[in-house]
Symmetry: C2
Subunit: 420 residues, 2 copies
């Protein structure tokens, strides 16, 4: 696929994450006005809510863009998503007749504030990164052997939707119970092993019916788009709490997503082959159109007083063993109702190389081998004041499709009300 | 506490679950009209939405009762909940002047259809039944020893809000992956070990702020009321999937709650002492006012062709080791934002006696000792056509406070679309 040229020159820059080929969904505001739907194009945001209000852009009878979330568009279904995309390509393509009219609805990205692009209905986090699973096995259990079910089931757990936040939101270091190795009793206080997890999140656009399973083909059609996702984790809280019912408060204090939802349509040219299957999958997980994508990912960390960020990991979304469509199928197959706005985290994505690991737990091997940053500082886990940033892009022929930075800074822990 | 007498004679019956002392919140409709808020009193439903519309009952400036959920009332906070209760006690008490006027808003319970009483924001299921945890340890790991964290942490996991349904909703037997003991590979198909779990659910009425922990005293004030809750479970799906991230699809096909939310105020007289602590709790979990309640619970099962239901278990809500307020505190203490409509399951409640176990897994000891029902049939797990019903009441002096039946029938599994 080649660059689709736009009259908006900044969209033709081979380095921009927002060429005409992308057209990602976001929610923005300017100078404190009402947050509303917008589309990124080059270094601008197209105020599609205003275009809808002016009668220039309509994808259905109702107004669906004047709200601070894309859920209403999601609910309209894939035909409407396509209609919107076709309209936007028409408005923004090189030589478009309406250029002058549309130019009035462009706002520089430097001027806008980005908000959560969707109302998260429910949040589920999967565990589809094989290298990550092997690393965690080695670190926690002394063996890289995968759990017996790992190659068969898209393993997942329900996360907490209420703490999903948009890039740029500060996160307080969480309090919780931890137990030092060898201690009889746990203690209560701020986590000492705060970590990030590099993931891609899939957004469910249309729902399923309670009690009714779905196929992988249906699941693929239900997916609206993708975000970058940092599943912040408190490793010491998690280690003490997770037996026997899985991760809970070690994950519930914050999950950061990118401001832009990249449409599934924009990633179509980047579909790639499924991984080699070590054992056959059960038929309900077979895919005719495979839901794997070639998207380069990287992680940067910037301490509070550092002049610049250090890149600490580079990997690819194609390192997952189960696609988002397979995860969604598995999620719904028991009869669980899926809804527009459900967010499915891929699981931490680690590549095989040491500098391709998707968490500090892996990069510093549980603190045994602290990382040295470009600035000379070392890190075993995330410290107060650190900013973590995930970036991702699919590389086309002379263009790239990206998500915008998925960034969050850690603030010190808050004390309990009424506590010393 | 004694019976508070009402001019509605059926509310003075010592057997009714809905005396004036209760006044539970429900959502009802009549002959297919719009579902709206109602209050149970004796064998009637008081149409408080109509009273609000008529200007007879106002708890705030806005209309908050003409909707099919109690969330708007929840959001008003404890003072508004109290105001509503005081108004209702005035309208319904013996000798009330407005009796004739209010009587027009009474509808026989036999005529109404009950709906979900709330929009479930998120659903969390805990694990606070000590006997249940010991039984599951004995059955699954050969030892009743509790996990090392059990006495310290209100262990919980995030469940799926989208599959929480109101009593009376049929549930399809779920499909999923299971692996027969000794088999190399899993199979896909309907669960063969369908179970119920007897729980009490706490409804969070007011929220907390992302990033800010709460105290147990705050948590207690945030609780709006309680429901009965059946956390349907597919034991074979659960057994194969739950390592290492906990229960997922084995729980996600359905959770049934009672149609009525019993106000926390109605259960105040039934608060009881906390359990004996085998180890001291961390200070953040200490309670000044203990959130444990004496509520008798029972479970009935009725096969499709059986003339009547058999009672298979009797226990008490006071058998939990952590209160709902302690669970809520733990949930929020990491900074996790809690919201109106969050539902917290207590965990399966089993008493020490064999006939006080809160699941068939325990009652039939994983199928090793099938139960014999009153009708002579036996049960190891739930079969197609079976109806499971939970009941619960707090016994006062000449009155009881109940929830209405929490009932669900199991239908056969549905085939996958496109499958043979």
């Amino acid at each position: 696929m080649k660059l689709m040229r736009s009259w908006m020159q900044s969209a033709n820059d081979p380095e921009t994450e927002f060429p005409l080929n992308n057209l990602p969904y976001g929610v923005f505001s300017v100078d404190g006005d009402e947050p509303r739907c917008g589309i990124a194009i080059g270094d601008m945001v197209l105020d599609v809510a205003a275009m809808e209000a002016a009668g220039l852009l309509r994808i259905t009878d109702d107004f669906v863009l004047d709200v601070p979330f894309w859920n209403e568009v999601m609910e309209l279904g894939p035909e409407a998503w396509k209609r919107l995309r076709v309209l936007l390509l028409g408005f923004l393509g090189e030589g478009a007749e309406s250029q002058e009219q549309v130019a009035k609805y462009m706002i520089p990205q430097a001027r806008v504030r980005m908000h959560m692009p969707l109302l998260v209905a429910e949040y589920t986090d999967f565990y589809a990164g094989m290298q990550h699973a092997k690393n965690m096995g080695s670190i926690l259990r002394g063996s890289p052997d995968l759990p017996a079910n790992w190659l068969h089931i898209p393993i997942g757990y329900n996360g907490r939707a209420s703490s999903v936040v948009v890039s740029g939101t500060d996160i307080h270091r969480p309090l919780g119970q931890t137990r030092v190795a060898g201690a009889d009793a746990p203690r209560f206080g701020p986590t000492e092993r705060l970590d990030f997890e590099l993931e891609v999140g899939a957004i469910v656009g249309t729902g399923s019916v309670l009690g009714q399973p779905i196929t992988t083909a249906q699941a693929d059609k239900m997916i609206f788009g993708f975000v970058l996702l940092n599943d912040w984790s408190a490793r010491d809280i998690q280690a003490w709490e997770y037996q026997p019912l899985g991760p809970f408060q070690g994950k519930a204090f914050g999950t950061t997503i990118s401001p832009w939802i990249v449409p599934k349509a924009a990633l179509e040219p980047f579909r790639c082959a499924e991984p080699v299957r070590e054992v056959p999958l059960l038929p309900y997980l077979h895919e005719k159109t495979q839901g794997f994508y070639n998207v380069a990912l990287e992680v940067q960390i910037q301490p509070a007083d550092a002049p610049r960020a250090s890149t600490i990991a580079r990997t690819n979304y194609n390192q997952v063993y189960f696609s988002a469509a397979q995860q969604l199928t598995h999620h719904a197959v028991c009869g669980c109702e899926m809804n527009p706005g459900d967010l499915l985290g891929s699981g931490t994505i680690s590549g095989p190389a040491r500098d391709a690991f998707g968490s500090l737990m892996e990069l510093s091997w549980a603190g045994e081998e602290p990382m040295t940053l470009d600035t000379g500082e070392t890190r075993s886990f995330v410290e107060d004041g650190d900013t973590l940033t995930l970036r991702g892009h699919a590389q086309g022929d002379g263009y790239r499709v990206g998500f915008g930075p998925c960034s969050g800074r850690i603030l010190p822990a808050l004390h309990m009300p009424g506590w010393a």
